[in-house]
């Protein structure tokens, strides 16, 4: 049963990725300009090279052949060159994507650590002052445009108080060798003499972007948790547990926590996609060298190869994460699997 489900999800994943790759291939033709230039990113090429590239990418054959060569190129890491920097896109994405994932991951962990416990507190105190206070705070946090929130943090903590650095990922004085792309991990495993100072600088640079992402995401997670807890605590089996003479604490531990968490775990997974999008905006504000600021710069400069590759990378990541969290949720709560089968 589980295996069948995994296979089904895997099929869906492959199918979606196939559609995405076809779409990104179509972009080569949809963008203005010569398709071959859009594909390779090589501008100003002479006739001879052009002929060579035409054969190399199968542009003298059918669309199907071209697509086949395109896919092969994707797997070989030949994603073309960027118009603006002239560097291979695969390398640029390999450098920027981990920075975004790092930022989003820290923010997600922090939001879960803040949002879930507060959600439980508010859910158990339903219709009391604590609940109303937390709910108001969450509505405020959730209505905040994230770019404005980041700007306010910069105005207060960088410009007025001067506590935290304005932008970037680490002070330019440090030169961290690029291995995994996750800066804290890279620093940790490097053998530099100034490890401590570099880690401190990286940490200070992380605080504000993470904080602005966390505030918005924690509010959403808080609301999801609170609603789920309220529904569980008003259900009949919880009332039955009370009538059996269990204390409030026992009811919560035995029936409340697990039943409230199980239905919302897949929703937490979906938050990662939202988080990644918000991270793209925050990156622009803080000049964080992630995929978001890179992609938006590419859109502004009409760097077509970069737009195509960047979108493929981001959407692949989002789809894979969605499927992965979906599977994880089904593993935790096999009851959902049955209904999914019955529906289809």
């Amino acid at each position: 049963m589980m295996l069948a489900h995994v296979i089904r999800k895997f099929n869906l994943l492959i199918l979606t990725l196939l559609v995405l790759s076809i779409l990104s291939f179509m972009l080569v033709y949809l963008f203005p300009g010569d398709p071959l230039v859009n594909l390779t990113g090589l501008e100003d090429i002479d006739q001879e090279t052009y002929q060579r590239l035409t054969v190399l990418h199968g542009f003298d054959k059918s669309y199907f052949h071209q697509y086949w060569y395109y896919i092969r190129g994707l797997f070989d890491g030949e994603w073309g060159l960027s118009f603006s920097s002239g560097l291979p896109l695969a390398n640029e994405i390999a450098q920027t994507l981990p920075a975004s994932i790092e930022l989003s991951a820290y923010a997600l962990i922090l939001s879960l650590l803040i949002g879930v416990p507060l959600g439980f507190v508010a859910g158990f105190q339903h219709h009391k002052t604590t609940d109303y206070g937390l709910l108001t705070a969450s509505v405020v946090a959730y209505s905040m445009p994230i770019f404005w929130l980041s700007l306010i943090l910069i105005l207060v903590f960088s410009l007025q108080l001067g506590w935290l650095p304005l932008s970037g990922r680490i002070s330019l004085l440090f030169d961290i060798p690029h291995h995994t792309g996750f800066i804290l991990i890279d620093i940790f495993f490097s053998d530099l003499s100034y490890k401590g100072a570099a880690a401190k600088s990286a940490f200070y640079h992380l605080i504000m972007p993470t904080a602005s992402l966390t505030i918005v995401t924690a509010a959403i997670i808080f609301r999801l948790t609170r609603r789920s807890v309220i529904e569980v605590m008003s259900s009949t089996y919880v009332q039955a547990a009370y009538t059996r003479g269990l204390s409030g604490f026992q009811v919560v531990m035995r029936h409340g926590v697990r039943n409230a968490l199980v239905p919302i775990i897949p929703l937490f997974g979906m938050q990662f996609a939202v988080l990644l999008t918000n991270a793209m905006i925050v990156e622009v504000v803080f000049s964080w060298p992630g995929i978001g600021s890179w992609l938006i710069q590419a859109i502004n400069q009409r760097d077509y190869p970069a737009i195509r590759a960047g979108m493929l990378a981001v959407s692949t990541l989002v789809i894979m994460l969605t499927v992965a969290t979906d599977l994880l949720a089904k593993l935790i709560n096999p009851a959902q699997m049955g209904t999914a089968h019955a529906e289809s």
Binding site: T136, I281, S344
Partner: protein, 297 residues
């Protein structure tokens, strides 16, 4: 008027009135509604209220501080920006532009979404299955990301970003409509109409749709808050509306350069977006809990 209860008459409110009565019990929700009404009045009457033209540059008044500052003047209530444009007028026009466009987008995407959702909910078979799977995978992707992707393909500009957000909003509306239509179609009153010989068109417009209005309003408020945030975010990132148009996100990114000298250029447009989204969210939350209370009683 005192509410005299002379006759022991039983009061049976219609569902809509009932929802309104429940909604009115929450003072915060009513406050949110007033705030939203204020913004909508600004959208309609903006040009009559604004003291200056939003694009009018006064070369004698660059970066004037707001009126409450010692160096400010009452002529410019909220001060001026780096080109000498009156911030109050720009804010009013900005609300008009941001909220007006968002409202338009929400209405269009709701119409498309409801139509598609009704088709998806009332049909069975391969067609609806394909549509559903496609939509469900799109549901997981945030609207702003879809919008950025579409803007990347179409190119930068206000109209393109409007198309992008409109298309990005549709999947969620379709999904929710489909779920509600499916649930309603199972109910017995629909079956009764079916036995009376009602066609699908009739079933949808006379049986299912009247039971969806409230859900649609809730859905609309959610879509509206997303649309406001997205359109101003795209403006801020330089992908949507372009300067010098008075869009709130664009104003924020323009104000960035002078943020150090006059923080009001950032604080005020940002608060306007924040208040708009807050009002919409509060009204949406109020409506949702009013609906929940009505259905529980």
């Amino acid at each position: 008027m005192p509410n005299l209860d002379l006759y022991q008459e039983e009061f049976h409110p219609s569902p809509l009135v009932h929802t309104w009565l429940e909604f009115r019990k929450s003072h915060i929700a009513v406050l949110g509604l007033w705030l939203l009404a204020f913004f909508i009045v600004l959208v309609i009457l903006g040009p009559l209220i604004a003291p200056f033209d939003p694009l009018l540059q006064n070369p004698n008044a660059f970066l004037v501080q707001p009126a409450w500052d010692a160096s400010g003047s009452i002529r410019y209530l909220f001060g001026t920006d780096s080109l000498g444009r009156d911030l109050l007028s720009r804010l009013i026009y900005g609300c008009r532009m941001t909220l007006g466009i968002s409202l338009l987008l929400v209405v269009i995407s709701m119409l498309i979404g409801i139509a598609l959702g009704a088709i998806a909910g009332m049909t069975r078979g391969v067609r609806s299955s394909v549509l559903n799977h496609l939509l469900d995978s799109l549901m997981a992707v945030p609207t702003l990301l879809i919008a950025i992707v579409i803007v990347g393909i179409l190119g930068i500009g206000l109209v393109n970003s409007m198309w992008a957000i409109c298309l990005a909003l549709v999947p969620q509306v379709v999904h929710n409509t489909r779920e509600v239509v499916r649930a309603e179609m199972q109910k017995e009153y629909v079956l009764a109409s079916k036995l009376d010989g009602a066609k699908k068109f009739h079933l949808f417009f006379y049986c299912v749709l009247p039971n969806m209005y409230e859900m649609l309003v809730v859905q609309g408020t959610m879509a509206l808050s997303i649309a406001i945030l997205d359109i101003s975010a795209l403006g801020f990132l330089g992908l949507g509306a372009q300067p010098p148009s008075p869009e709130l996100g664009v104003m924020l990114s323009e104000g960035l350069r002078e943020a150090y000298k006059s923080p009001w250029l950032i604080a005020l447009p940002g608060s306007a977006i924040f208040l708009m989204v807050l009002a919409v969210n509060v009204v949406g939350d109020g409506l949702r809990s009013a609906l929940r209370n009505r259905l529980q009683n």
